[in-house]
Amino acid sequence: MGKFSVIGQSVPRLESEEKVTGQLKFLDDLKLPGLLYGKILRSPHAHAKILHIDAGQATKLPGVVAVLTRDDVIGNQAYDSHYGPILKDQTIVALDKVRYVGDPVAAVAATSPYVAEEAMELIEVDYDELPAVLDSEEALAENAPLLHEKIQKPRQGFADLSDVGHVEGTNICNHFHLSKGDVEKGFRESDHIFEHVFTSPAAQHAALESFSAVASFDSSGRLTIWSTVQNPFVIRDQIAELFHRPLSKVRVIALHLGGGYGSKLYPKLEPLVAALAHKAKRPVGVTLTREEVFLTITKHAAKIYVKTGVSKNGRILARECRVDLDTGAYAEIGPRVSKKSGYTAAGPYEIPNVLIDSYLLYTNKVPAGAFRGFGVSQSNWAHESQMDIIARALKMDPLELRRKNLLDEGGEFVTGERVHSAAMMECLNKAAAAVRWGTRSEPASKSAARGKGLACLIKATITPSISSALVRLNEDGSATVYVGTTDMGQGSDTVMAQIASEELRIPLDQIGVVHSDTDLTPYDLTTSSSRSTFHMGRAVQMAARDVSVQLACMAARLFNVGPEEVVCENQGVRPGDNSAPSLSYNALLLKNFGIKGANLIGKGTVKTRSTLDNGEHVTSAFWFAGAAAAEVEVDRDTGQVRVVRYAIAADVGKALNPLFCEQQLRGGTITGIGLALMEQLVYQGGLLINPNFLDYNLPRFLDVPEEIIPILVERAHPEGPFGAKGLGETALIPAAPAIANAVEDAVGVRITELPITPERVLSALQQKQEEKVKKSTLSRVS
């Protein structure tokens, strides 16, 4: 501990005071001069041809400055009509047809939001309804209506996604396939075969801050966009391509976000708002209503088939998985979700024979995209539930079965590569111990029963990727860090400052952070995939070291010693042999440059690779390893499940800020509990019928366990800053299966459909009771 000053300390967020006083500005808190308010008219149909749009009345309404419809978009010289991060299947507004209830059809910019809303109601649209595709099965059906014909790709796609794509003439947006060994042989050699289907519904991120975007063109045609976005550089790239501009003519800025959880990745409002501002010739801002947020992006609904072959002593010999993900009307980042979901579909186990197919399917529903866990929570729900079914059938302790098969240090992953720096076993053992695995506690009432359940996880981070950082030593000896990482609550600004502070020996309160401004901060691929601490943290560390080296060289000349003999401490330098008095950074800069106003700039870049020099493939620059243990209480009369205690262990490499790590684990757990027990988007036909917080239930104080025990396992990663790696998605992923496993332990019923509603539990209990009665009648008869 003594080694570091601020690394490993639970320092509060730099912006804490602004956050508790309401002073921190979120995007919707700011108003540009001359700003117009935009509103979006959306499709009432799941799938329909647009016959005719008449915006005449709307345009005439006093206060309306611009109305944008397909007539403006088609053939426009200033911009293209299509965009999309992987597949260009989205349009600024609907062109020939609409593909889901909520698809943007037209937009209005007016001097007040009220006027814009009124104008929207004056736009007449005639539709000719088409048959709709409402789930993944329908999407795959023969003669299913097609959502998209031919789809183009962006000029430069993502490095990890060169192999993905739409299967023309079908609704298959992407197909991911992975195999290892020979599953058929594996099944033949197995003593027991288990086959199950698990489902997981679409869900909402429910960041409390809505989506906002403001676009403004200056007289030279430079476009600035402020947006609630986790990855501003991707937006810049997409907008530049869409609007035929070099990257230098597009600036994207993200302030602090009021939660993201994956929802604020990739273009959402930006193309439409920019096109609206282009037409209005004034800055335009759009902030979505809560209902519109629900109509913008969701978590993928999934149906997962798992077939597992096991030897009688509990070794998994073969596993076949098929994951069908419902991606809604547009690809968005779905193809990557299906890939990530596919990679880990067989779980964190060493299995000699694996066959994985992951299908991403277009349907006429709200598009699905990234959601904390990125497809892994869906496949984890399946394999971790099945692990307990297997253990029960083999009469083995689920902990033992997992231990027997667990992928630990040096183990071989499905892809054939060796997994390192992932303390799976330690996480599993610690999580189990934290809930006193193997003991049973007493329920609060007679009608209730308690039980415990486990789940493990492994997840990859996006690879390859790039993050760059700048650190500027200011003339007074303070420092400013420039990062493209968006702080959406996770505390990245603070962690980056801690790293710079530690490296430069400058007090934390003298470090400033500038984030997510594509004109100011160097490139960063994205704030997602729990990658920022590992990638950007390392880049900041390198940039700070770059400054230290410059300082050392400067000081070496003054002190007449070698640069390696210069010691940086207390915001200053001294020769290692104390042959001269120490100099503050401020004094050193003055002395060196002979004039006030000189500063030093350090830079750092981290680029991870997907292929090593020896040709070995790298799926992930680092692996998330974790395990959860849940204790639940089930009311046998109502079926209601309450999580009493929950332990979540994560290998964090090194906890740079233990408080933040624990917050990530507790917070992820609580969202995980919500998804496990109550959250789901409900459609009636193509209509989402619970697009609001009255009908879409989120976990509240009453639903949170008495105790959530975060366990930070620190197995230093050789490439992470101070050994650190990411953990943001760890806790959410195993929550649902850990809870379902605990439910079975408590009352003996297996739930295979999420969420685990009281009704599902009760009907399973009733069914079990009926079977018992049937059996006992039969045995009495015989």
Binding site: G22, G258, R290, I670
Partner: protein, 160 residues
């Protein structure tokens, strides 16, 4: 048709002309110029827009400005005095009771109402009281800890 109203916000009197349909939240964030109060669900479910009106918590998204006329409103901006953070604000920082903090303004005011109304609440009462404030980052346990520390402080003050 606009109406003239007078509202006291954080001790300052505001004379405003508002449309009947304008909500207290719109008025606070617009003409009054205080953006610390946030719009969340727009349905009185999430609590992001909580302010205290005459000492009681209300959803400012669902109180009409004309109806707030003549009342005293306390927003998050009015809690700290003379640059000194309110004990609740300090406790929120100390216990890590927020991440993104979009819900924090509302939660801090809800906790203020809690402490004002319930001198020695039990755990269940605290959870019920705060149940209508959603925190999607999931800082519930840290918030509960902050509340407990504040209760302890007030207990100690009483004993002293």
């Amino acid at each position: 048709m606009k109406r003239a109203i007078q509202v006291t916000v954080n001790g300052g009197v505001h004379e405003l002309s508002v449309e009947p349909r304008e909500t207290l939240l719109e008025i606070l964030r617009g003409p009054v110029g205080l953006t610390g109060t946030k719009l969340g669900c727009d349905q009185q479910v999430c609590g992001s827009c909580t302010v205290l009106m005459n000492g009681l918590p209300v959803s400012s998204c669902s109180v009409l400005g004309v109806d707030a006329a003549g009342n005293e409103v306390l927003t998050i901006e009015g809690l700290a005095t003379d640059g000194e953070l309110h004990p609740i604000q300090k406790a929120f920082i100390e216990h890590g009771a927020f991440q993104c903090a979009y819900c924090t303004s509302g939660l801090i005011l809800a906790v203020k109402a809690l402490l004002d109304q319930l001198p020695a609440p039990e755990e269940g009462q605290i959870r019920h009281f705060l149940a209508g404030n959603i925190c999607r980052c999931g800082c519930h346990l840290e918030i509960l800890q902050a509340v407990r520390s504040l209760l302890q402080q007030s207990q100690q003050r009483k004993e002293a």
